[in-house]
């Protein structure tokens, strides 16, 4: 399938790296609608990492999905200078981002010159449509950090 990455990071076939499961499908479906959805434990209300299928706080068996703000802050990052996979182009930034809702996620930082990246820097989500099927959530610098929790976390899709 042809890839059109608006940020030019991915140039080859990444189908083998894209594998939604029944438990992560709401996250990926949210991305395809330009929305960030995160699982929340129904028991203790901990907001979980999108790929967490269980709650490691209370071990509660059920999750619901809540829409997240898409705002966060940079925790740390690396810049790939050597290719590990031919589907990518160099250089690209992989970042660990603290979402305003709590979870820390791995993603790419885009639209940012390397020299200006800083730990703690506010970032906001962008959705890059790579193929008909694959929409990737990435992050770019965001100068005005919105107050977290202006979002209605009670909205549910499951």
């Amino acid at each position: 399938m042809a890839i059109h990455d608006p940020h030019g990071i991915i140039v080859g076939n990444i189908e083998a790296l894209y594998h939604p499961t029944p438990e992560t499908l709401p996250f990926w479906e949210g991305c395809s609608h330009g929305q960030l959805w995160l699982p929340q434990c129904c028991e203790c209300r901990t907001v979980l990492h999108p790929f967490d299928s269980t709650c490691s706080v209370c071990l509660g068996p059920t999750r619901k999905w809540i829409q997240a703000s898409g705002d966060g802050r940079m925790i740390t990052w690396v810049i790939y200078r050597r290719l590990y996979n031919p589907a990518f182009t160099l250089p690209y930034v992989v970042a660990l981002i603290a979402l305003s809702e709590g979870p820390h996620i791995i993603s790419n930082l885009v639209d940012c010159s390397e020299a200006t990246i800083k730990a703690g820097m506010p970032v906001r989500i962008v959705f890059d449509q790579l193929t008909d099927r694959i929409v990737l959530p990435r992050f770019r610098p965001h100068s005005i950090l919105l107050e977290a929790d202006t979002y209605d976390h009670s909205r549910q899709i499951l």
Partner: protein, 379 residues
């Protein structure tokens, strides 16, 4: 471990194969060779071994590995098992051997590892990380580079400080006949290396090595009847762990070394000022300053300045990785560090011997700084 375990157990034998590229030797052969060397070093025979404890090959993980190994050794030990704490396994297995000996389940345990990722497959070290490969998140170096960047941002740690770790290990390897890296390596050479995964250069990363290594653990009480001449006493041992994923950690720049070191020092009744030589798990350069901080050799965040100006080199205030560690001796996940500490305690390290060294500290660490074990040895 309870202080009552201190000074009652020992490492009685050490052995290892050649390290590096060994394409003509199977992992099984490497493993058996290493154990044979350790058994001979202790002055024992394979029939003295009644405990077989190992870590299965990381690059080619297999179930039932300790049973397989016992079969290769032609023995039926009283206890056996493979433990997976990744790179923290070897020291942890030493502790479990002590408990088994205390429980009279065995009397002489071999702890061993062999693998051939250099000649076989090193795919595991470049694999997509979890489900995040789609973000280009590949490989072990990048994950440690995330930690290094966090340490640099938080505490101002600089490339030259990471380089000081690399240069020290390379210097020490030059004094170590069996080490893989013998060529001189300067700070200028370090800084001029192109980045691999920024902030890491290739020299910040462990070697990928073929080889095998083994240790014999027994009790001091057994040493007399076994005729073991030069047992190196186990004074302290500990372990400490963190969540597996970086995304599940509240703090990236602190490791399981805090809990692990506290246990080991308490068991030994010693403090950092008692340590004459340290063999620290340097799978990546950043782990050395972090481990030094977490063990309490300096304040949190001061690991960068601590490793500068030759302080961790032979002749410095705290010689670290006197045979070159994972960065320059060999990339095996931990046993070589214990072996070097035993050699330093025996006092037969030749040019790289730390004079009058009486207490050695060893760290092992696994995964992306998620498991940690600590060993304190005394002569």
């Amino acid at each position: 471990m309870d202080p009552s375990f201190s000074n009652r157990y020992c490492i009685a034998g050490i052995g290892h194969t050649r390290y590096g590229a060994l394409p003509d030797t199977s992992v099984e052969n490497l493993h058996v060779q290493a154990i044979q060397q350790a058994v001979a070093d202790a002055g024992l025979t394979k029939y003295d071994i009644d405990g077989v404890l190992c870590l299965a090959p990381v690059s080619n993980f297999q179930i039932g590995y300790a049973v397989k190994l016992s079969g290769l050794l032609g023995i039926t030990p009283r206890i056996l098992g493979a433990l997976d704490q990744e790179g923290a396994s070897i020291i942890t297995l030493i502790g479990y051997a002590m408990m088994a000996i205390d429980a009279k389940q065995c009397s002489v345990a071999v702890i061993s590892y062999a693998d051939n990722p250099r000649s076989g497959s090193r795919a595991i070290y470049g694999a997509p990380r979890g489900t995040d490969g789609i973000f280009g998140w590949f490989g072990t170096p990048a994950a440690y580079a995330m930690i290094a960047r966090a340490h640099m941002e938080e505490y101002g740690t600089r490339a030259e400080q990471l380089g000081s770790v690399v240069v020290a290990c390379r210097k020490h390897a030059q004094l170590t006949e069996h080490a893989e890296r013998h060529r001189e390596f300067s700070m200028e050479q370090y800084l001029s290396q192109p980045m691999l995964v920024d902030p890491f250069r290739p020299a910040d990363c462990a070697l990928v090595s073929d080889g095998g290594a083994a240790l014999i653990v027994t009790s001091l009480a057994h040493c007399q009847s076994l005729g073991i001449r030069d047992p190196i006493r186990i004074l302290g041992i500990g372990q400490g762990h963190q969540p597996q994923d970086l995304s599940h950690r509240q703090k990236l720049t602190t490791s399981g070394a805090v809990a692990s070191g506290r246990q080991a020092f308490a068991m030994a009744g010693l403090g950092t000022s008692d340590i004459d030589v340290a063999e620290l798990y340097d799978c990546f350069s950043i782990t050395v300053p972090i481990t030094l901080e977490d063990y309490g050799f300096c304040d949190k965040g001061e690991g960068g300045p601590f490793v500068e100006n030759g302080r961790i080199e032979i002749g410095g205030t705290l010689p670290v990785n006197t045979a070159g560690g994972l960065l320059a001796e060999t990339g095996l996940p931990g046993p070589q560090l214990v072996i070097e500490a035993v050699r330093q305690m025996r006092g037969n390290c030749g040019e790289r011997q730390i004079m009058d060294a009486k207490v050695a500290l060893v760290s092992n660490q696994g995964g992306i700084m998620q498991t940690h074990s600590t060993l304190i040895l005394g002569r």
